[in-house]
C-alpha cells in the first residue's frame, strides 16, 4: 500500500486540503493529525456569534463533513512533535510515527502570551480555540469589568461582543489607534469612534505591565503605574506560527514555514522540497499580485486558497500556475460590517472614494501609486468590484 498524504493540523486548512485532494482526483489514503479533540470548526465566530450565544457548542461552529472525505483518517487529540523530512515521517507526542508520501503543514497559529510576574490564571483568557471561547463565555456576565489587551480585530471584536453582553469593557493597547495597521488611520479612527459610541473605552499608548490578585485577577497594573480593576482579562496581542515541530529540518521557519510560489517548503539552498507543502496562516509565501516578498497572511480565506492549490498539485502531480490568491477579510463589530480585498497592511496611504466616513463608505489603499487593497462598510457591490483589480 502506498503511503498516505499526511496533513498536520486539523482545522480549516487541514479539512480543506483533504477535500481538495479528493476533489482533484487523489484516491489514496489521507491522514489528518490535530491536537484539538474537536473535528474541524470555524474560528471567526469564537469572538462574535459564539461568544454572544446562550450556548457555546461544537455543533454551532463545526464545518459540514462531506461524503467525499468520509474515508479520511482523523487522528484528533494528538500533537505532532517532530518531523524528519529526509525520511518522510512525522512523530506524535505519544511516539507514534507516521510515514507520508506528501506532507501538508497546516498547523496554524497560537496566541502570543504576555509573561507577568504575578502569574495567575483564573480570570485570564485568550481566544483561539473552542475551549477558550467556552471558558470565556462563562465569565462574560452583565456588569463584569473586562479588560482586553490588544486592539487588533480579535481584540476589538471581542470587546464589542462583551459590551453587547452587558460588560464594562476597556481596551488597552500600545498603538495610537485600534486596527491601525490593517485599516489605516482614517477608517480605524472611525471604528474607534463607533466602538466608543457603544460604550467601549480605549486606553491607548498603554500596556498592561502586571496583574493584581491572589486566587484570580482582580485588577491590572498599567505601564504608567495606575491600576484598573477588572473581573476578566483577555489577551489578544497577536499570534505565533506553530512550527516548532519542524525544527531540525532543512527549511526556514524563522517566521512561519517559508514556501515558494508553489507552496512547497524551501530549503537553505533555495531549492524546494517536492513533497512538503504549506497551507494557511502558518505559511510565509510570496504573492506576485503585490511583489516577491514572502509574507504570512492571517486572513480567513487563505487556508482555503492554499488547500485548493496544494490539493490540486498533489492530486495531479503538477504544481500548475504559481499561487497568487486574492486576500480578503471581514470584521463584525456591533452593527458595523467591514469587507476588504487585498493586503491593506502594505499601504502607505488610503483615501475615501465613496460614501461618507460616518455612514457607509469605501476606502482605497495605496502603496505609492499601486492599489493594494480596498475596504468598505456597507456598499458591498462597490467593494466587491475591487476584487477584479487583483485578478490576473
Amino acid at each position: 500500500m502506498s503511503k498516505p498524504v499526511v496533513i498536520v493540523g486539523a482545522s480549516m486548512g487541514g479539512l480543506r486540503s483533504a477535500e481538495a485532494l479528493r476533489r482533484f482526483g487523489y484516491t489514496g489514503a489521507i491522514t489528518v493529525i490535530g491536537d484539538e479533540n474537536w473535528a474541524p470548526y470555524n474560528r471567526p465566530p469564537l469572538s462574535k456569534e459564539v461568544l454572544a450565544g446562550e450556548v457555546v457548542s461544537h455543533e454551532t461552529v463545526a464545518f459540514p463533513q462531506r461524503a467525499a472525505t468520509s474515508d479520511v483518517g482523523w487522528v484528533l487529540g494528538h500533537r505532532v512533535v517532530s518531523a524528519d523530512l529526509e525520511h518522510s515521517t512525522v512523530t506524535t507526542d505519544e511516539g507514534e510515527i507516521f510515514e507520508y508520501s506528501n506532507l501538508i503543514v497546516a498547523t496554524g497559529l497560537r496566541p502570543k502570551r504576555q509573561i507577568y510576574d504575578n502569574n495567575i490564571h483564573a480570570g485570564r483568557h485568550i481566544i483561539r480555540t473552542l475551549d477558550d471561547a467556552m471558558s470565556l463565555r462563562a465569565e462574560l456576565v452583565p456588569g463584569a469589568r473586562v479588560v482586553v489587551l490588544g486592539a487588533g480585530f480579535i481584540g476589538c471584536e471581542t470587546a464589542a461582543t462583551a459590551r453587547k453582553l452587558g460588560c464594562e469593557v476597556t481596551v488597552v493597547a500600545p498603538g495610537t489607534v485600534p486596527m491601525l495597521r490593517p485599516l489605516g488611520e482614517e477608517l480605524a479612527s472611525e471604528l474607534q469612534r463607533r466602538q466608543e459610541a457603544e460604550g467601549v473605552k480605549f486606553l491607548l499608548k498603554r500596556t498592561v505591565s502586571d496583574l493584581v490578585g491572589e486566587s484570580r485577577v482582580k485588577a491590572v497594573t498599567l505601564d504608567d503605574g495606575t491600576e484598573l480593576e477588572c473581573d476578566v482579562f483577555i489577551e489578544a496581542i497577536g499570534s505565533h506560527p506553530n512550527t516548532e515541530w519542524l525544527e531540525g529540518n532543512d527549511i526556514d521557519i524563522s517566521d512561519g514555514l517559508l514556501c515558494d510560489h508553489n507552496l512547497r517548503a524551501v530549503k537553505a539552498t533555495g531549492d524546494s522540497w517536492n513533497n512538503v507543502w504549506g497551507v494557511g496562516d502558518v505559511v510565509r509565501f510570496p504573492n506576485p499580485i503585490f511583489d516577491d516578498v514572502p509574507r504570512r497572511v492571517e486572513h480567513w480565506n487563505i487556508p482555503s486558497e492554499c488547500a485548493k492549490y496544494v490539493g490540486n498539485a498533489i492530486a495531479t502531480g503538477e504544481p500548475g500556475e504559481i499561487f497568487k490568491p486574492i486576500p480578503s477579510f471581514w470584521s463584525d463589530q456591533f452593527d458595523v460590517h467591514i469587507l476588504a480585498f487585498g493586503l491593506l497592511a502594505l499601504a502607505d496611504s488610503s483615501k475615501l472614494v465613496q460614501g461618507t466616513i460616518d455612514n457607509d463608505c469605501v476606502f482605497e489603499y495605496y502603496r505609492g501609486d499601486q492599489l493594494v487593497g480596498a475596504a468598505g462598510i456597507g456598499l458591498r457591490s462597490v467593494v466587491q468590484g475591487y476584487r477584479k483589480n487583483f485578478e490576473s
Binding site: 480543506r16 477535500e19 476533489r23 470555524n42 471567526p44 465566530p45 456569534e49 461552529v61 464545518f63 459540514p64 462531506r66 480567513w300 480565506n301 482555503s304 480578503s328 471581514w330 463584525d332 460590517h337 469587507l339 456597507g378 456598499l379 458591498r380 457591490s381 466587491q384 476584487r387
Partner: protein, 63 residues
C-alpha cells in the same frame, strides 16, 4: 437537483458566494443576498465552493 438553504439570520450579505456560484447567488440592487432555492446537480461543485467561502458559514446544501 440540489436544495439550497441560507440562514438569513447569519447572512451578512458579504456576497462571497456570488463569485463561486453566480447562477445561484446574487446581490440585489440593495446589496442584499438573493438565491435560488434549488439548482441542477451540475451546480453542486460551485455551491459547495460557495458554502466553503461564506464568512458566516450560513449556506447549507440540504441533501
Amino acid at each position: 437537483m440540489i436544495k439550497i438553504n441560507v440562514d438569513m439570520n447569519k447572512c451578512q450579505h458579504y456576497g462571497m458566494c456570488v463569485f463561486e456560484a453566480p447562477a445561484v447567488f446574487k446581490l440585489n440592487s440593495d446589496d442584499k443576498l438573493e438565491y435560488t432555492a434549488t439548482a441542477d446537480d451540475s451546480e453542486r461543485a460551485n455551491v459547495e465552493a460557495a458554502v466553503d467561502v461564506c464568512p458566516m458559514q450560513a449556506i447549507f446544501i440540504v441533501d
